[in-house]
Symmetry: C2
Subunit: 214 residues, 2 copies
């Protein structure tokens, strides 16, 4: 067994504060990472570009030396939430669990990017309430339904319109846009706003609020 | 909106590989952190010292500049797993979810320390199977029942012996020790082995296996 001098000495010296601290805390991890843990909660219709912006955001932050992790509604359903169906109560539980995991990631000091439709205001507010003030940053992908439906990257709108998917958000289930979210991302005028530009909007917000330093 | 030159240039130059990469991957995060993501799965009886070793381990690794996060059976029950009871199927689900979350943490590049009794070999093997070869490091707190019961830090053995807790591991429910775990921690002879020494055993293992570098 290897016991390096610095640990042995802390055992011999009971006044050493590092050893007697009960555990490594959030602040210690944040100092190590030079950032503050939080969650960027990206909400919006299917096809609104949530995953694309999540990727661009993780890229932009990684290039600045910041540690991020994406929790994607679809991906988590293959692991943690694979026991959940798409019926109403299971969708709520899907969101609850992702928020709880995001909370653990934020506590770990990580900038967690959660990307999921999360159509109901009530569910999103329950998630927000789990976090300390400021650490839940809601980003609304404000893209009109007809644009999302035209894109239809997974062919889901087509299936929903054909009645092959029931309770599809925007078709036969409502999407409730945020009333007071931190950031709204939208196409302005005729110019196309690229995902990396949208990501920069979020990064500027994080910078301004002090999340990119310990 | 701020769009730094390096991002703008990637937009103007479609051959730039950084921008076209779909996302930040595990290897990128590991390079950033200079470590490899994995889970240290600490199993053992109540009172065997799992949490104490988990804390000492997180301290020892933090002092080396490594990012860790502790998933504690008890703590997670207050959040993610607060819908679960202590009946058999819920205990299995408790373990499954913790393993799935540990998998996300490992994918984030973090050294995740999971500390929970996890008494059944079968359940632990299900967890192990979620991880790439080598990334699930099982640590057995090999402390005799009578020692744990003498310590009884939470007074749970007393309650179990009095019949006030049913199905308590070691009393009226079995603990199945690992057959082929990576690390066994035990008191050797008469000398007391301190938690930080046990942590050093684990750290030496991680060092040897290359987990403390990218």
């Amino acid at each position: 067994m290897i016991a390096p001098p610095f640990l042995m000495s802390t055992m011999e010296n009971p006044t050493n504060i590092v050893w007697h601290k009960s555990s490594v805390e959030k602040l210690d991890r944040q100092r190590l990472l030079q950032q503050k843990g939080c969650v960027i909660w990206i909400t919006g219709l299917s096809g609104s570009g949530k995953s694309t912006v999540a990727c661009a955001l993780s890229q932009g932050l990684h290039m600045r030396g910041k540690l991020t992790y994406i929790l994607d509604g679809d991906n988590v359903r293959h692991g943690l939430n694979r026991d959940l169906s798409f019926k109403a109560e299971d969708r709520a539980e899907n969101i609850r669990r992702i928020a709880e995991v995001a909370k653990l990631f934020a506590d770990a000091g990580i900038i967690c990017i959660a990307s999921l439709i999360s159509p109901y205001r009530k569910d999103r507010d329950v998630c927000r309430a789990l976090f300390p003030e400021g650490d839940f940053i809601e980003v609304f992908m404000d893209v009109p339904l007809h644009v999302c439906e035209n894109r239809d990257p997974k062919g889901l709108y087509k299936l929903a319109r054909a009645g092959k998917i029931k309770g599809f958000t925007g078709v036969d289930d409502p999407y409730e846009p945020p009333l007071n979210c931190e950031i709204v991302l939208q196409q302005k005028g005729r110019d196309c706003v690229l995902p990396c530009e949208m990501a920069e909007t979020v990064i500027s917000y994080l910078e301004e609020k002090g999340y990119l330093q310990a």
